[in-house]
Amino acid sequence: MHVAVFWGCRILTEHYAYEMSVREVMPRLGVDLVDLKSTTCCGDPIKSVSDFAVTFLSARILAEAGKTGLTDLLVPCNRCHLTLSETKYRLDRDVETLEKVEALLGEEGLKYPDELRIWHTIDLLHDAVNLKEIAEKVKIPLDGFKLATHPGCQIIRPSEIGRADESEMPKKLDELVKALGAETVDYSEKLDCCGAALLATHQETALSLAGTKIKALLGYDVEGLVVSCPECHLMYDARQEAASTAVGGKLKLPVFYYTQLLGVALGVEHKTLGLDLNQSPVRELLQKKLGK
């Protein structure tokens, strides 16, 4: 299966571990990634400024994806996935806006694609690759790992535009983790937001949202948290220390991208999965459980 991939600014400019691990695991599962010829912002960070500019920016990405000749597009970032899905939902229905957008796209020699399916890492692995295929390829089972998942907000809501998983009872990420041999914990704070969108303007609140969730997770004796979004990863991993301080505790919880854990289970070398880049104690957990 050949899939076009749009990484988005956050992954390309900062969250390298996600890109590295996706690039490592997908071809091993029969998914060949095709990078876009030119990449720009999906529009999400300027939703507050201009609705039309956002629609143009994301339509531009959809058009670049269409240019590859492929009809499947992987968008590993939750926020980019939402913005592109919102725009596709609208342009497939709102002819007037589509005409305005197409006129602008034409100036760059681009065309809004007739057919394109937008995937996130989680539903691509769960629905297109499938759990059985993943379980069969596991070389190093993650037996005895007690993990929790954080699906994030943007790939499960709003359901009317079609999301990667169910809005109130998301289960795909848990099933994917279980396919690697690990155990997952169901917990009442699962749908709580990481707070990343407030980090730039309301830092203390953002950090306390992240800290509160980490604290709750440690209360369930969870050994690690699994995420699939660069923003959530930033809050729980790189900002973990600050988030701990915000809720008045010294919290330590290893935080992985799902694709990093998948890579470990598939037997990929840890360094190429970007595991050295995680700021939380992921290496300690892997050492303790797998002896490496």
Binding site: C9, R10, L12, T13, E14, Y16, E19, M20, R23, D35, L36, K37, S38, T39, T40, C41, P45, I46, K47, S48, V49, S50, D51, F52, A53, T55, F56, L57, R60, R90, D94, T97, A103, L104, L105, E107, E108, C153, Q154, R157, P158, S159, S167, L191, D192, C193, G195, A197, L198, A200, T201, H202, T205, A206, L209, T272, D276, L277, N278, Q279
Partner: protein
């Protein structure tokens, strides 16, 4: 003391034009259909921070009391978790309304958190929301895309900037 909706309304005058401007910016959601069931408020991530709750924001707009919202930090406190949009039985979507109010604030050249306008400049300049960041491992080894074996980022041409400028102007 908490300012109630009633207090604000006794002090303010409705702004019909701004109200229309905000409502026209929303494509599919219908804030006007809100019947104050408060499901949005019961799930709101930012509730603790808010002077006015999501269902109250919708109510203020319905009655045209928009100046209070445009001038305050309230509309900039949304965490965009989308629970309000998902759970609204009336498709009123406080999320879409808040984004529309932010857009109106920008158009009115009222106070907008610096971060948002800086991001616009950054995207105009490079196509991306931020410059490529250098990072370090937990053992403080500095790394970049090249050292990590990641390919060069393929940026857009000059024409992109021109088109985005037009889009920002509403094309």
């Amino acid at each position: 003391m908490k300012v109630s909706l009633k207090d604000l309304m006794t002090m303010a005058k409705p702004a019909a034009e701004l109200r229309l401007k905000a409502l026209c910016k929303i494509w599919e959601a219908k804030p006007i259909n809100c019947f104050q069931c408060m499901r949005c408020t019961s799930g709101c991530t930012s509730l603790k921070l808010l002077e006015l709750k999501p269902h109250e924001i919708v109510d203020l707009v319905k009655f045209g009391f928009i100046d209070e919202l445009l001038a305050s930090d309230i509309i900039w406190t949304c965490a965009t978790c989308l629970k309000c949009k998902e759970r609204c039985p009336q498709k009123a979507s406080p999320y879409d309304l808040i984004m529309a109010l932010r857009n109106v604030t920008v158009e009115q050249e009222a106070k907008v958190p610096e971060f948002y306008m800086n991001t616009v400049s950054q995207i105009l300049e490079t196509g991306l929301m931020q410059n490529v960041q250098k990072i370090t491992t937990r053992t403080m080894e500095p790394l970049d895309r090249e050292k990590l074996g990641l390919p060069k980022i393929a940026l857009a041409g000059n024409k992109f900037k021109e088109c985005l400028m037009k889009a920002l102007g509403g094309a």
